[in-house]
Symmetry: C2
Subunit: 76 residues, 2 copies
Amino acid sequence: MSLRGLGVDPRCRCIETESRRIGKHIESVELFPPNPHCKDTEIIATLKGTGKEICLDPTAPWVKKVIEKIIANKAP
Amino acid sequence: MSLRGLGVDPRCRCIETESRRIGKHIESVELFPPNPHCKDTEIIATLKGTGKEICLDPTAPWVKKVIEKIIANKAP
């Protein structure tokens, strides 16, 4: 779940991703498309309360479900 | 495309949304699910280069397409 330094070191932001389904703890989700510095999409969730940032696995079905729900105007 | 003050005033963040298809200018997209302060999902894109934040319409087909592409590990 650790994040590499943000903005200073232009590589991927995520080293590990969260495997537990934390949908209901999510305050927001940020999607970073592939770019010259990082060839894979990265998804970073900000948690309610603590504001902690956690990397999610873009290929995990539960993560796709969370995003679908948010777009459908539902809480994850 | 203006954003209400962030974090100080707990209401919706977006007043207007961008209608032009700006997919290729998008550096990241943040999704805010419905919550006690704002009953609708909000989507805020950060633009490449300027880092400017722009609200997108969660119901617009092109916005959904952008998010689908990012999740499918493609640039929007």
